[in-house]
Symmetry: C2
Subunit: 397 residues, 2 copies
């Protein structure tokens, strides 16, 4: 039976993403650096380079835990997350005259979104460290994923969601045994209420980038892109960006893989997509700023993009610029049209965030920023099932 035991991890230490202070990875759960910035996991890559050749991955378990050496060495709390399909979008590609169009479909993850990746790894570490109560603010999908992995690990889970979160997310998290509190305002307000109402100690904060291991789960999207493209990275990656963990994670994966000799120096152009009603990274990118100011009164139907600020803003902006990419905002109407088109032309019932990547692609194409034969990867970050329960949505005639 293929049940994966503790992994031969080469995790070495935690390192601050801003001040580069180092701390050991040990039995105590780690939060932010004392300077307030996110900690990142660092590995003995020279050791991995010797022990693991990229061809050795072939035949490993079809989940993100196939990359055990560059993940923390704990018993996985797993539901089979990751190693999602990279699907050719041939029909849509022909219509658009883009012959290398691909969709990384994250909707087939447990709980229907890419959030499963981060939570599988973060909960695995936290459970091994003896955490009993898990808490996070969430726009919806992260909450459901924490609820699922928390349930599987026997943790108590406390979620704080904006009261505008579509109802299917709330019901899902409750079915999975989480306590869900609805909070007026955005995910930032939900985070504040969480920290006030749970008080000091006795619980662990799984909020985006406030612990170092959700990003380790998310970075596997970068490893998979490489592996699924025969270790020739695609030319363009279009990514819907709320907290941005996935984009930061993929950039980290590209760094690691280059150090391992698995990929060369050519990287994809990383394209950040946000909503017109909440575009802090786009604004900062356009202004040439290194950090993004919080977006006042964020508004968009794509709950995963209703994120007024990210602790990793500087990391996102750096990756986009280093990659020669860009950042752009799309209207909610365009996202919905994008979702509808992905559904009707490619059979993928995409969430609005996934639809946003197609909307962005149409802009990039019009501006001549993508080539007809480039491999362009759209990230569909989650299923459409949780969004279109009650509203008129995108129902066809």
């Amino acid at each position: 039976m293929r049940i994966l035991g503790p992994a031969p991890s080469c995790l070495d230490r935690l390192e601050c993403s801003l001040c580069t202070a180092v701390r050991p990875f040990g039995p105590e759960p780690a939060g932010l650096c004392t300077c307030g910035a996110p900690l990142l996991a660092r590995y003995r890559l020279d050791e991995v380079r010797k022990a693991l050749h990229r061809e050795d991955l072939r035949g490993r378990i079809a989940s993100l835990w196939r990359y055990a050496e560059i993940l923390p060495g704990v018993t996985p709390v797993t539901l089979g997350e990751g190693f999602t399909p990279l699907l050719p979008a041939s029909r849509l590609g022909r219509e658009l005259g883009l012959h290398g169009l691909l969709i990384k479909d994250e909707s087939v993850n447990p709980t229907g979104s890419f959030k499963a990746r981060g939570m599988s790894v973060a909960v695995s570490v936290a459970a091994a460290q003896g955490v009993r109560v898990a808490a996070t603010p969430s726009a919806g999908n992260a909450g459901s994923a924490l609820a699922a992995y928390g349930a599987r690990a026997g943790l108590q889970v406390q979620l704080f969601l904006p009261e505008t979160t579509p109802r299917p997310f709330v019901l899902e998290a409750r079915r999975l045994g989480a306590r869900v509190r609805l909070v007026p305002g955005s995910i930032a307000d939900a985070g504040r209420v969480m920290r006030e109402s749970l008080g000091q100690g006795g619980w662990f904060d799984f909020a985006t980038l406030r612990e170092p291991f959700r990003i380790e789960g998310k970075k596997t999207m970068g490893y998979e892109l490489a592996e699924q493209c025969g270790f020739e990275l695609p030319e363009v990656v279009i990514y819907p960006t709320g907290g941005g963990t996935g984009l930061i994670g993929m950039w980290k994966a590209f760094d690691e893989m280059e150090a391992l000799g698995w990929v060369g120096g050519r990287r994809p152009r990383m394209i950040v997509v946000q909503a017109e009603g909440c575009a802090p990274i786009v604004r900062a990118f356009e202004r040439g700023a290194d950090r993004a100011l919080p977006w006042p009164n964020p508004e968009t139907a794509a709950s995963g993009l209703r994120v007024p600020g990210s602790l990793g803003d500087f990391l996102i902006l750096k990756a986009v610029r280093e990659s020669g990419g860009t950042a752009l905002a799309v209207a909610d109407r365009e996202m919905m049209e994008g979702s509808a088109r992905l559904a009707r032309h490619e059979g993928i019932d995409a969430c609005p965030e996934g639809g946003a990547t197609l909307a962005a692609l149409l802009h990039l194409k019009q501006e001549g920023k993508v080539g007809a034969d480039e491999r362009i990867v759209l990230f569909n970050t989650g299923t459409g099932l949780k969004y279109f329960d009650a509203g008129p949505g995108i129902e066809p005639g």
Copy 2:
């Protein structure tokens, strides 16, 4: 890039499951045998036996198309279906004193259910044969799957669903571009209305077992069980049975694998689970009958089990008896409790049909029909997301 081309299929012919009449697999779409029974695909297994060793599967694509030799040789219309995780249910297993408890989680398939398997294969064949209009009656998940694969293949899709089908299924299918007609009564009534209203010709009938290739997709669940258990089949398989294609398909897979020398003669005991309000197979099993009479006024919240009769009834009953298995019905309340328990204890947001397998297991345990160390596989056939939108459902306090 790992894009799979046409497969080195060893498909040989189609054979009637009842009268054993043979017809070639050719350019014309195939429906039922002239005697009215389902046709089954037969392969040149001696050729497969020589060409493909079970170890060769290692490293193949993580979808059901990894079993290309024993699938039809057409270009796959694929969304990455199959090769779903077989998850240890350790917490639940400890509670129940069952130490080999496993869950085959089909909810991570495209469109969130096991129906993706059958439709991927059947649509691939039909598209290659030039079918333009696809139609099926459905309890929900088969319709959404046909909508998705039909969209991907550029087919027009016509669905006929019972008007009691939960709304999320209907909205999903419509987002995927299908025309959905709601019909009073059960799936049997929906099938009748379909055949009346679409008339003769110009469309192809994808209803359960009315064409030979959905079962080919479903049988891969059996191949995966074997591969994921190191080719030592588990002792017990508990399967929620509506039309029964999956159970018939797994039994066919076991036959094929035995002929290939991949597994020995020991088979799992196959356990059919149905709803108390619709249990035609259970009734026939208890009466010692070879065929099942249609169930009048079927009633259950598990729409996938609200199937009053199956064209494959005799094949289901034969497999269950040959395996030394049994058939039992559970109450809707028990299913819902089962779903809730799978969600809260294992992190799997199971559909009611998935919950029914756990409910059945509790009965089997009480009756001493399962051993503490046997490997018992519960099939969660789909996600809970499409069920619990509006009703009080199983919401915790």
